[in-house]
Symmetry: C2
Subunit: 106 residues, 2 copies
DNA sequence: AATATTCATCGTATATTTACGATATACGTG
DNA sequence: CACGTATATCGTAAATATACGATGAATATT
């Protein structure tokens, strides 16, 4: 099978990855939580979600791998916060996509 | 397992569904294609993608199920176009999510 | 040193996604 | 009516996602 890079543009792949990171309600909630704190939000995110600690950790990993959040180690806790650079990039890509006009005929 | 509606808000579930629909580069391309036509874009979308007709049909189904596109049957062809209502809703939800400030400390 | 706290990772089960070729459906054309 | 065109659906294989409990690793506290 062709590799993605052969076929899709870099930006398309990145946007798809950002979208994928946001494609689960738990991860939407996590991003909202992180965004609503005016300082970095620490640890017990699991307490706010109907999920086990290990599952939340997995979701955090996905958000981190997608580049949307950053882990800030301050032992024994780890503070997560939104990665401003990629968050802005995701917003930019999405804005570009949405600025295109939807068809008015249908 | 708990049902999503027990736990996640309606808007969170909807936003996650929209994001999921956009979580594959092929579907990003399809949305771009549809958006770039100033009339509804007809059929041979597969010709623009490195995918078989059946796979493209599946992706179209996912976009349709997510409510992002509408199928307009004009036999023997089917015209797809972006569903303005839901497209706008997705944009609104995403804007609301992104308007939240990223943490400035990390 | 023993214990508690915080978080990641492993192992695992199940579900979903992705992709394709083959086939079915619906319609128009010769 | 036979055939072509456009598209969906089926069957299937492989990959990925989701979730949990158990365990591991790192550090702080007693």
């Amino acid at each position: 099978m062709k590799k993605e890079t052969d076929v899709y543009s870099d930006d398309e792949v990145k946007l798809a990855r950002f979208a994928k990171a946001l494609s689960h309600p738990a991860r939407i909630q996590i991003m909202k939580l992180l965004a609503s704190q005016n300082s970095c939000f620490c640890g017990n995110i699991a307490g706010y979600l109907p999920l086990s600690q290990s599952t939340v950790s997995q979701h955090l990993k996905e958000l981190k791998d997608a580049g949307l959040i950053i882990a800030n180690v301050k032992q024994p806790k780890i503070y997560y916060c939104i990665c401003k650079e990629n968050w802005d990039m995701a917003k930019k890509f999405l804005d570009a996509l949405f600025e295109k006009k939807a068809c008015e005929i249908c």
